[in-house]
Assembly symmetry: C2
Homo-oligomer: 386 residues x 2
């Protein structure tokens, strides 16, 4: 059962497709984008009924390499624990698709892409995109793949925002929606943390007004600081205490200096340094901004329930007790909104001390919850078991 998953790679980014050739993508900011490239990865096979597609939506720093080796880091896919034969997202049963988001840096068009009008990378002339724009681009990809309706849209964190947006914008194209560790709007505290990250990047002189591509530089230090600050919010105080506490790094005594005396410092620095190797700083600006702008209720006069009025989508929401970035009470607001429109909702809060990152980790209750929900839904949808 543990054989490697066939990935149909065409190039380093997996598949790439040019979309918006005939009619461009109209972004929320008013700009029309197109033609543009989307890079995606698939696992498994679309069945004859074309009803077994699972769209996985990735988080801020994620990409399309859900369950295949990352071409830059050589690490296993970010959700390889959930995706694979015998796992909740089984490619023997489902056709699993994940696309790099709009504004990303793993093959989909983003600020590092060449602007066809200038021949240079966009930099800050790339239009600011929203979660809804990301979802519109994914819908164009799904059209391109000849798929009318998705069996499931699933994702954690910013991925969960996309799931909610899919269910709201395209309710007839979604059979089940599984938002994990997310919220229907980005909180003031989360905007604040993102702003710190953006300021760190833009304060780095190597950022050069966003056109570092032309100078052969990159604001490495700024992006590393942004990642370090963000990374703290992905964990919990309890997890940090359990994992690191005040343990020293390869030394018996503090050094009375500014080296990484503590393991937690060394760990954080490592997180910063490795992130820089695989992520475009401008993409970080654009994607955090898309999350900040996310507020599903806003276009419905602040009434979230209206986003889901009359929905037939079956929802399964999962939160984590120690997630302080997307706390359970924000997930519960979504449940209340769905209840208000008599939607079909399951909601599970998983007890864990692993914080927001729990959605990426080997969390047995998460696997059981998703496995149970998806296989029951697949039965109902008439998708054969492997």
């Amino acid at each position: 059962m543990d054989q490697p998953i066939e990935t149909h790679e065409h190039n380093r980014e997996g598949f790439t497709v040019t979309l918006g050739k005939e009619s461009p993508l109209k972004l929320d900011c008013g700009v029309e984008l197109g033609p543009f490239t989307v890079a995606y990865q698939t696992y498994g096979t679309l069945n004859a009924e074309r009803n077994n597609t699972v769209l996985v939506c990735h988080a801020l720093s994620g990409d399309q390499f859900v369950a295949s080796t990352h071409p830059l880091t050589g690490k296993p896919g970010w959700w390889h624990i959930l995706v694979g034969p015998g796992r909740p997202l089984d490619p023997d049963r489902y056709f699993i698709v994940c696309a790099n988001v709009l504004g990303g840096c793993m093959g989909t068009v983003g600020p590092a892409s060449k602007d066809p009008n200038t021949g240079h990378p966009y930099g800050l002339s790339f239009p600011v995109i929203t979660i809804a724009d990301m979802v519109r681009a994914q819908a164009m990809l799904i059209d391109h793949l000849g798929i009318e309706k998705l069996f499931c849209v699933i994702g954690g964190s910013m991925g969960g925002m996309q799931v909610l947006q899919w269910a709201s914008m395209y309710p007839d194209r979604v059979y089940t929606a599984v938002p994990v560790g997310t919220a229907a709007r980005h909180s003031a505290q989360n905007i604040a943390f993102h702003e710190v990250g953006r300021q760190a990047i833009m304060a780095d002189p190597e950022w050069r007004g966003g056109q570092y591509y032309l100078h052969g530089t990159t604001p490495r230090a700024g992006l590393a600081v942004a990642r370090m600050a963000a990374h703290i919010t992905y964990l919990s105080e309890a997890a940090l205490r359990r994992k690191f506490g005040r343990k020293l790094q390869d030394r018996k005594e503090v050094t009375y200096g500014f080296d990484a005396d503590f393991q937690v410092e060394s760990y954080l620095r490592h997180q910063g340094i490795t992130f820089v190797e695989r992520f475009d700083p401008n993409s970080y600006l654009y994607i955090t901004r898309a999350m900040d702008y996310f507020d599903m209720a806003a276009e419905h006069g602040g009434v979230l329930a209206k986003s889901f009025k009359g929905t037939a989508v079956r929802f399964c929401l999962v939160s984590f007790s120690s997630d302080w970035l997307f706390p359970t009470n924000e997930m519960r607001e979504i449940v209340h909104a769905l209840n208000a429109v008599a939607a079909d909702v399951s909601f599970v809060e998983i007890e864990t001390d692993k914080g927001h990152d729990a959605f990426l980790l080997d969390e047995p209750e998460l696997h059981m919850t998703l496995g149970g929900f998806l296989s029951a839904a697949a039965e109902r949808a008439g998708i054969g078991s492997p």
Copy 2:
């Protein structure tokens, strides 16, 4: 009663004194420091019995200007709400002393001070100091002022660490100790946030290995980012939601750009920019490091109670329900340690949504708690009421 407090200012920093002329201060790192300057401020008059001194210990970004106009910002002192006629710390009753900490930048020796051996500012050649070192320097100041025993040592956050250290190192010189919103050791999460701040400063090219003084530059952007990240931890999610939520800054619609669309962004940027005007970036490195190193139990085999064995000091501890930087459970550990040695302890957790910053704010329950505790203790100590 609301007349201005007499401040006896000698110069911009208040009083300054040169200490360690005969015998230097032996720092925890092994370096001997001396002679060195300490800048301090006083309010009220030392009584004939010399038993009415309150030593106020300031926090990371604080200074000696507890209740007098700040010479750089022109703002009222950081604890003016608590210090003044008719207030819990009444200069008509107490002789109130606050010294800028060792490593600071408001007149006490720190990395921006001139190294007598080189004639240049210390920069990173300034020795790394600890909370205990700060307290040792304060004890030298108290000796200099001819005071044997303090009526009270009080402070919040890093100030509270100094209070605990005073009670542990000099139990016979402290009548009452009032640590507010603090901990007996710095947590992994707090070390992590400090490390982000330090990395932001050191990543700024204008930091120049800590010797920016010689180049006439200053790592403004790095320090601003450090302050922004830290400032989020001083508030609570609830306070941010109540104060800002997703409200926009002087605009009706988002701009689809990287300006401060949201009020919370604008507020944070302001916090960063104004801090740079009054604080030395290297001091920020040194003082955060002192906090990271703070672990009172460490020198007692991890048993905090041993730090207070046989103590006659009367303690009053205050925590705030929404303080996630120094949460109540960490304060409770101190209470348990004090209970274990049968110390005289009051402990109050104040219900507030204002987060860690509550200790600086007009929090009526804090004022009542401190007022009641101090005036009862003053009665017992035979300090006349004003």
